[in-house]
Structure formats: C-alpha cells, structure tokens
C-alpha cells in the first residue's frame, strides 16, 4: 500500500520528506526541473506503507501526457494521499485543476483512501494573515474535494505546524489508536511514570502520549523527535542502528526503547529512587501486551501491509 505525497514541482515535498523521515538530501540527486517519474522512496513506515513522491502539474505537456497514461498504476493501492500546495503559488486555478485530477484518479482506483491537504510554506505569509488565508484555502479545498472528505493543515518547516500535521496524519492511520491510548495510560499509571510517549518507528512522530502533570515545554515532542533522528543519522553513518537509550541524572530518568513492531516508547520517571532495572522490566512486559493489541485486528486494518 502506498502513501502518495503529491504536489506541484517546488512545493516542498522533498524537504518535507527529508525532515519527517530523516533522509539526507544530496544536492546532486536533486533535480532542477519537474520530475517526470515518480520518486520511489523506499521509505517504509507504519509497517509496510511505502511513501512515493510525485510532481503534479509542470509546464511540460510531455509530463502531463505521461501522468495521464500512467494514472492507474500510480493511484492503485493507495492508502493515503497527501497533497501539498505552495501557499505562494501564482497559479491557483492550475493547482486546483491538478488536485482535482488526482482526486478523480483516487476515486476511480482507491476510493477508500484518506485525503490530506497541506497548505505549505506558510512562514512566507505575514503572521496576521495566516489564519485568514488558510481558512479561504480550506473552504475551497473542502468544496472541491466532494464527495471525498479531505483534512486540511497549514504547515511550514519553520514552525511546529509541520510536525503537528504529520503527527495528526499518522495518528489517523493507526487503526486502534484510542485503545492504544487507554492502555498506555494504564501502563503509565502502573509504573508511576511522569510521562510516557509512543512514537512511530520510522518518523519518531508522537502517536500518543500520557502525562500525569502539566509540562512546561509545549515543543518537547518535536525536540525529542529531532534529537533522536539526528542520533539515528549518526548511527547510520557507522552502519549501526539505534535500539534503546537511557538518560539519567539526579532529577529524572528517561528510557527510550523499541516497543512494538511499529512503535518506540519513551518513559520518563521523575522518582530517581526507582532503579532502571525495574522500569526496563516493566517496559518489556508491557511490550508483549501491546503487541497482542496490534495483532488483534483483521487484515484490512493490519499494519503489516504488502510491499510492492
């Protein structure tokens, strides 16, 4: 199953993918014009969803023809369509036109797909106008998307909106997320943790979390995500892979570890008297329980998807 990341050339898809999935962008491999073929990314997340990037709507008529002739191949087996709009684009009519063609193709080939629209590069809009402009676009997009339902987000790589948008998207893709959250709360209360976070494995986006008291830093999820992704980049340079981490000082102890096949967990204990071993045993036991939760659901919502 595929996740399609589509949008006009230059709308920011490559940067977005790089930031969310911690891919290095080499200058030479970046093209200077419109893509005429889909970029197969081999990025897997949430089990076996594959992320594909596709440029939609260049000035090249050749590209347009190719797009229409390969349509069925591209739009089949799509689980999620994420369409990126550049808020600064001067060709709104054209952008909407291409978006509608994509939607038609989705309706024909993968009618159950979820559609998300990201209005990107919002940092280029003046702060006082952002809400207004986003509301306008959201209305237009919702109207154009009928009968499909699309969820709109405004994003920018220079504030928290990108991270939050993708976290919401991934949250909606987890099949039994509410159940996960209840279980997570129980787990946290049992082990007396201050906070427990559940991350998606590939992107370290926070899927769900529990906190027992107010935390000061509203941006802590994104920061942890960034730190761990940088660490993963460093590890990959040594051909090592990151498995688990413990950080401890006199005030707290934090544990990051593999949890289920699609998730990582982070447990923060502010009681330094509890020995690490105890917490680690608790996490290990919880792991078995949560894995069972994942496997409970049927094949349609299974997170283990067939690869193409």
């Amino acid at each position: 199953m595929f996740v399609l990341l589509m949008g006009k050339s230059g709308s920011g898809k490559t940067s977005m993918r790089s930031i969310i999935f911690a891919n290095y962008i080499a200058r030479d491999t970046r093209r200077l014009g419109a893509t005429i073929d889909v970029e197969h990314s081999h990025v897997r997340f949430l089990g076996n969803l594959v992320l594909n990037l596709w440029d939609c709507g260049g000035q090249d008529t050749f590209m347009e023809n190719y797009f229409t002739s390969q349509r069925d191949n591209i739009f089949r087996n799509v689980e999620v369509l994420i369409y990126v709009f550049d808020v600064e684009s001067r060709e709104l009519e054209k952008d909407m036109h291409y978006y509608q063609s994509c939607l038609e193709a989705i309706l024909q080939n993968s009618p159950d797909a979820k559609v998300f629209c990201l209005v990107h590069k919002m940092d280029l809009v003046q702060e006082d106008q952002r809400d207004l402009i986003f509301k306008e676009r959201e209305e237009d997009l919702k109207r154009l998307s009928r009968p499909l339902a699309c969820t709109c987000f405004r994003t920018s790589i220079w504030d928290e909106t990108l991270y939050k948008a993708w976290s919401s998207i991934v949250y909606q893709l987890i099949p039994n997320v509410q159940q996960l959250e209840t279980n997570l709360r129980n787990f946290a209360q049992i082990i007396e943790a201050d906070e427990v976070l559940l991350f998606e494995r590939a992107t370290f986006l926070v899927i769900s979390h529990y906190q027992c008291k107010e935390q000061r830093d509203a941006h802590r999820f994104e920061k942890i995500s960034n730190i761990i992704k940088q660490f993963k980049l460093s590890c990959s340079k040594l051909a090592a892979s990151f498995q688990s981490m413990e950080v401890r000082n006199s005030n707290f102890a934090a544990f990051i570890d593999v949890f289920t096949s699609n998730t990582y967990v982070m447990v923060i204990m502010s009681d330094p008297s509890i020995p690490s071993a105890a917490t680690l045993i608790n996490i290990r036991n919880a792991r078995k329980h949560f894995e069972k939760l994942e496997r409970v659901d049927g094949p349609k919502h299974s997170l283990h998807m067939r690869m193409r």
Binding site: S18, I19, Y24, I25, L124, W158, E160, N226, F231, L233
Partner: protein, 551 residues
C-alpha cells in the same frame, strides 16, 4: 561553509559560541535544562525549538546547500541576537554582514572608476576608424549590449537553486554550468584581458616617460622641436606624428619628422640615442617595475586608485580646453574618402567595437562590486546609471577630440590611437596629463600583476606565492611581453582591440548568453525569441573577434 548560526530571540540570550558548537553532537542540552531549578528562563521557548530545528535540518543537507537554511524572516533581527560565551559575558552581534554597505552613489562611482581605463585614450582613434556617425552609433549600441550582458552576469548566481552562491564570482558560475572547462576557460580569458591591459600599460608608460623626459630636456636646453614635426602652427599645436601620403590625390607633403628609430638630424644626438621611446625606455622601466611586481601584497598600491580618477577628470578638462581653443572642424562626407576627412561610415568599424569591448569591460568583477550595494534591489538601476555615465564620458572625449582635430592643415586620419600623441611634448597641459597618467599607471601596474599572479598561481599551484622563482618567472614573462610590444609594435589601438575582442568573446558574449539560456531552460522558461536573441549575441561576439583580424 555554512556559518554556525544559531541565533536567538527577544530578551533572552542564546548560546552558540563558535568554539563549543559541534555539529556532530546531537545531544546538545540547553543551559536551562542542566542547572538546578532556576525559575529564570535563560532561553525562550521559541528560541529553543528553532534552535533544535536548525540543528537537525543542518544534518540533512550538505554544508553549502541552502535548501534547508533558515530564511531571513525566520531568523530574528541582528538587534535581537546575543552571543554568549560560556565564561559568562554576552555581547550583541555587531551586524550579520561584515562587509560595509555603500549607498548607490558610491557603488555607481566605484563601477565608473573601475571601468574607466586607458581605453579612453583610444576612443577618438576608434571613432575615426569607424567614421564619425557610425562611431557614435556603435558606441551607443555596444554600450547597451554590454550593459545587458553585464546584467545577465550579475544575476547569474541568483538563478542557481539550492546552493549558497553568496561568495561566487562569474568564473564560479561558469564552473557550475560547464565544469572544469568552464573554470579554466573563464580563467584564461580573464588573463587575456589582464595581460593585455598590462602590455598596454607598458607601452603607454614608455610613451609618457619618453615625453616627460623630452619635455624636461627641451625646457632645460631650450630646444624647439616644432620644425621637425608636421603640425599646425600657433599656440595650440596639434601634430601628426606619422603622416601618410594622401591616398586620394597628388598631394605630397615634404616632411622631415623625427624618426624615433635613431636616424636623426638633430644636434642633441646622444640624448635621443639614450632616451628613445622604443629602444631604451621600455628597458629602463624594467628596473623600476619588476621589483614592484614581486611584492607579496598589493594593498599598498591599492591606496593610489584615486590617481586614476584625478587623471580622468583632468583629461576631460584638457579635452574641453583644447576643443574650445581649436574649434570644431567637421564636414560630413558620407561614404567617400576625401583628403582631409574620413567618411562617416567606414568598413574599419570592427576596430572600434574591439576597443569598446575592453572599454566597457567589467564583467569579471561586477558581482563583487555590487555586493556592497546597500539597496540590492537597485542593482540593475545603479548598473545602468554607471554604464550611462561611462558611455557619456567616452562619447564626450571621443567626439570632442575628433571634432576639434584641425582637419584642413592636418588629416583626420592622423588621430593617433593614443590621442595625447597628437600633441607635442612641449605642450604644458598635456605634459601634466602625461605625468598624472604615468604615476597612475606605475601604481596600477603592480596591482594588475598581483591579480594575474593570484589567479594563475592560485589555480595552477593552489598557493598565491608558491616561491620567489615561480613568481619571478611569471613576472619576467609579463614584463617581457610588454617590452617586446613597446619595442616592435607600440600601437595601443591594436593591442586593446585584440585583447578586448578575445576576452569579450568569452566573458561578455558567449558565457553569459549560454549561462542565461541554460538557466532559463532548466526553469522551463526559455522562449524562442529569447533563445534567438542570445544566439545572436554569441554570433556577434564571434564576429567581433573575427572582424579584428580581417578589418
């Protein structure tokens, strides 16, 4: 190299002292997190998260890649940034840009000053070669063409996506588009213009030194040279150093002009023998200039650039005074050759275009010059104004000298490639001009030599001063070229037009046009009229060079 910027916001101080900033450590922990429960926030929340993002994004791209660099509107203004050393002191950033920013008028003046070279002395000759009317039209047309090419060069680095081109010059742009070939060929053509200029300087310096010495000698020994030179009578004497017999008619002139190669009839034989424009002076200059070329640094000579400005202004004044005294002598013969005048349209016009290509040449350093302009959005306007002023200066000097040249006793064809040669060495105003120019050239010559040395040694050996012998060898070659030209072919008009057309071919016409077309094509914006126009530019450049050989 991307600077380790990690700036910060508002009243709170932020840390990224350069020494402690290490890209390899992902676990940078901000100060507020490692101290005891300090109620005072040392870093604001927005600052901390922006820092985290910048840190992370910098790992995702190459260090010179600006794709994920924070844009200016995301980074706070310099007034809001503090740099804090772990030892406890904090100070404000003095300004994100170390280079000073100049207002438009200074930039325009700098461009005018840099472009005004010794080609100004050849403009009247160039207009004479092309014909008066055609000459003026060509000057305007060439100026506009070269302005357009300069504009293309100026905006070429900005059209390159994803790469930080803030310290690139045009050869770097050529290297980006054409690889090693582009780099080496743009270097080569740049050298052609520089070495051509240095050869011209040597010839002119010999000329001016000769005339200065002659003036002093004649003044001291009260020698009158007027009989031995063909020229007008009166106080504002204009001479014709090498008169040709008239091609059209039977008119012959009996002249005995001073033959500088030594076969003279004058009494002061030994002076002429030891003080000869082509035989001895070029060699005397070696003693003065070769040591200056071997200096490590040329910053001492850079102080004297004001001499160039004074020289040009003095030349303009000189030209005005002479024109007022001599009056205008213009007759319009459109296509036919007459005894005293030249046709308005001549086939020798490529010689003028060659001279103008060097006269309007600034393409190899315009990017650097414009970088210090305070209001970058006015760059195109300022460049156009500078070109306009340069064009007007050249036009003024060229037209006035040509029009004022006394044609009935003399021939318009006598206008020399260095128009100062048309005035005798006894003329006081011209003597002053020659002295100014001599001093100016003596100070600019080592600067040019330094530029040649830095570029050639830098590219070939990677070191600006590999060893004294390398540098000496290079200097001997350059000086040797100058001496040979001064001795055997001291016609600066030809040297200027050939070197101008050669370096113009690459750096003015071909490379900018190709770079512009390629970048448009990559953006998908190349249209047929534009492509056709740029191909015509390339053809014009080639025709310009070929014209120098055939006309």
């Amino acid at each position: 190299i991307k600077p380790p910027v990690c700036p910060f916001i508002q009243k709170h101080m932020f840390v990224y002292c350069e020494e402690t900033f290490v890209y390899e450590l992902p676990f940078h922990v901000e100060p507020k997190n490692i101290v005891e429960d300090d109620p005072q926030e040392r870093v604001s929340a927005e600052a901390a998260i922006l820092n985290s993002r910048v840190h992370y994004y910098s790992r995702l791209t190459g260090s010179s890649d600006r794709l994920l660099s924070p844009p200016n509107h995301v980074i706070p203004r310099p007034e809001e940034i503090y740099i804090y050393s772990p030892l406890g002191t904090a100070f404000k950033v003095t300004g994100s840009d170390q280079s000073s920013k100049n207002p438009s008028i200074i930039t325009i003046f700098a461009i005018w000053n840099t472009m005004m070279g010794t080609s100004i002395l050849s403009i009247p000759w160039g207009i004479k070669q092309a014909g008066f009317t055609l000459g003026i039209l060509i000057l305007i047309f060439t100026g506009l063409l070269m302005l357009y090419c300069c504009y293309v060069v100026l905006k070429s680095p900005k059209a390159i996506p994803y790469v930080d081109t803030s310290d690139w010059e045009f050869p770097d742009v050529c290297r980006y588009y054409f690889g090693k070939f582009g780099q080496w060929s743009s270097l080569f053509f740049s050298m052609v213009s520089l070495i051509g200029a240095m050869v011209v300087y040597w010839v002119l310096m010999s000329n001016f030194l000769f005339n200065t010495g002659q003036f002093i000698h004649n003044y001291a020994y009260n020698v009158n040279m007027s009989d031995s030179e063909f020229g007008t009578n009166g106080s504002d004497r204009v001479i014709c150093p090498y008169p040709n017999t008239d091609p059209g008619g039977n008119f012959t002139i009996s002249t005995h002009y001073l033959d500088n190669s030594g076969n003279d009839t004058s009494d002061v034989g030994s002076f002429e023998h030891w003080w000869s424009k082509t035989n001895t002076i070029p060699f005397y200059l070696i003693i003065l200039l070769l040591p200056l070329l071997c200096f490590h640094s040329a910053s001492f000579f850079a102080r004297f650039t004001f001499l160039g400005t004074i020289s040009v202004i003095y030349l303009i004044a000189l030209v005005t005074v002479k024109a007022v005294h001599l009056g205008f002598h213009l007759e319009f013969h459109w296509f036919d050759t007459t005894q005293f005048y030249v046709p308005e349209f001549r086939l020798l016009f490529p010689q003028l275009t060659g001279v103008l290509t060097l006269a309007f040449f600034i393409h190899n350093c315009i990017i650097t010059l414009m970088k210090s302009n305070k209001h970058q959005e006015n760059n195109v306007r300022d460049l156009s104004v500078a070109y306009l002023l340069v064009g007007l200066t050249y036009l003024y000097v060229g037209v006035l000298i040509f029009a004022a040249f006394p044609a009935p006793p003399l021939f318009k064809d006598c206008i020399e490639p260095n128009f100062l040669d048309n005035f005798p060495s006894s003329d006081v105003m011209v003597f002053v001009a020659r002295t100014f120019l001599l001093f100016q050239m003596i100070t600019v010559y080592p600067l040019l030599g330094y530029l040649v040395r830095v570029q050639m040694m830098g590219q070939i050996f990677g070191n600006h001063y590999p060893s004294f012998f390398h540098v000496l060898a290079l200097n001997i070659l350059i000086v040797g070229a100058g001496v040979l030209m001064a001795k055997f072919y001291p016609n600066i008009g030809s040297i200027i037009r050939f070197s101008g057309a050669t370096c113009g071919l690459a750096l003015v016409f071909v490379f900018p046009a190709l770079v512009h077309m390629i970048s448009l094509r990559r953006q998908g914006l190349l249209r047929w009229p534009s492509a056709l126009f740029h191909i015509c530019l390339i053809l014009l450049g080639i025709a310009n060079l070929l014209g120098q050989f055939f006309m």
